[in-house]
């Protein structure tokens, strides 16, 4: 199977503060072993939402991996709390939500919780690394709205649907307007590609 990332791609997670939360001790252990293999030194291991919340309050975290099932509640509720807790910068930290069986009532909860990525079990190391690398390149903005706190859920910027006017203030029209300034001369265009020092 071909790798979903380049062979030379390097990842240094040795100084990253990572929180791992899972309600099942053995499941948490597997997560911890996986991240130890990735080079994470001492991840914060949390079985309960209470433990995860106190970690968020006491340490700056760079990545959170949260199972949907915690020992005393749901991972969705923890992420919902995290995004609104106003503990900066942790409330903006990337979160990978790992789900097992998903009840119909949890589908919208998962969408609205504010996770950066949702991954369904099983999550082998290759898939987890792929998601982490995706997060390293994630440049999505953060949204705070009455019904949602979290990274922008739109991962593609393709503009409004064809034939429709965009709803956002920064949506551009598909029609190109008339030029408002004179055309560039060829040497000006060349200078854009091959800048030269001007004496």
């Amino acid at each position: 199977m071909s790798l979903p990332f380049s062979k030379t791609e390097r990842v240094n997670l040795s100084t990253a503060e990572v929180l791992l939360a899972c309600g099942d001790p053995e499941g948490l252990n597997i997560m911890a072993e996986m991240f130890a293999g990735f080079g994470v030194h001492t991840p914060r291991r949390c079985l309960t939402m209470g433990e995860a919340q106190s970690s968020v309050q006491s340490k700056v975290l760079n990545l959170l991996v949260v199972d949907s099932a915690l020992a005393d509640g749901e991972g969705y509720d923890f992420i919902h709390w995290l995004r609104r807790c106003e503990i900066e910068p942790n409330c903006f930290a990337p979160v990978i939500l790992v789900t097992g069986h998903t009840r119909p009532s949890q589908i919208f909860k998962g969408r609205d919780a504010g996770a950066s990525f949702v991954v369904r079990k099983p999550v082998p190391p290759l898939i987890m690394m792929q998601r982490i690398i995706w997060l390293l390149n994630d440049q999505r903005k953060f949204v705070c709205a009455p019904g949602y706190y979290g990274p922008d859920r739109r991962v593609k910027a393709l503009g409004p649907p064809v034939g429709m006017k965009g709803r956002r203030h920064d949506d551009l029209s598909a029609e190109v307007g008339a030029a408002s300034t004179p055309n560039l001369e060829q040497d000006e265009i060349d200078a854009l590609f091959k800048p030269k020092a001007v004496m």
């Binding site: 390097r10 072993e33 690394m129």
Partner: protein, 156 residues
């Protein structure tokens, strides 16, 4: 109502991960696979223990435990997570089927206990078979559970 705010945040994870040092992603994945694989034996033992506990929880739910089928659902979900991590397909599929059933009957007036019981027994058997389930009739057990589930939870 407050206006939505959209703003850029610093990707501190990317900043750290791009620091010199570390390892290639490929080497990191291999190291992680080795470490996870080293947990296989412990996890298989844990799956047997969990499946035994599942029987106790189902019996308690039947006798009117206050949380009803909630703990059965939670433990079955944990069994799914662990079994799927080690490629135990029959066991993880059986656990997901029990999750469906226990969630369905959690809010129902009447619980189909025989369907729950046969799933618990199937999961115990599959957990005790461990990796041999793939060649020792695990698929037949799973097929039986699928029929029970379809009967107990007919599609709408």
């Amino acid at each position: 109502m407050s206006r939505p705010r959209v703003f850029a945040v610093e990707n501190t994870l990317a900043k750290m991960a791009r620091e010199p040092g570390g390892r290639t992603a490929e080497a990191a994945v291999k190291a992680a696979e080795t470490r996870v694989e080293a947990q296989r034996g412990v996890s298989l033992v844990s799956l047997i223990e969990k499946s035994e506990a599942l029987g106790n929880l189902a019996a308690a739910a039947r006798q009117g435990a206050p949380d009803g089928l909630g703990p059965v659902y939670d433990l079955s979900n944990a069994i799914f997570g662990l079994a799927s991590a080690f490629g135990l397909k029959a066991l993880s599929d059986a656990a997901i089927s029990l999750c469906d059933l226990s969630d369905h009957f959690r809010s129902a007036d009447e619980v189909n206990w025989p369907a729950i019981d046969v799933h618990v027994d199937g999961i115990r058997l599959l957990a005790s078979m461990g990796e041999k389930a793939a060649v020792s009739g695990g698929d037949a057990i799973l097929e039986g559970l699928r029929k029970v589930r379809a009967h107990a939870m007919p599609p709408n």
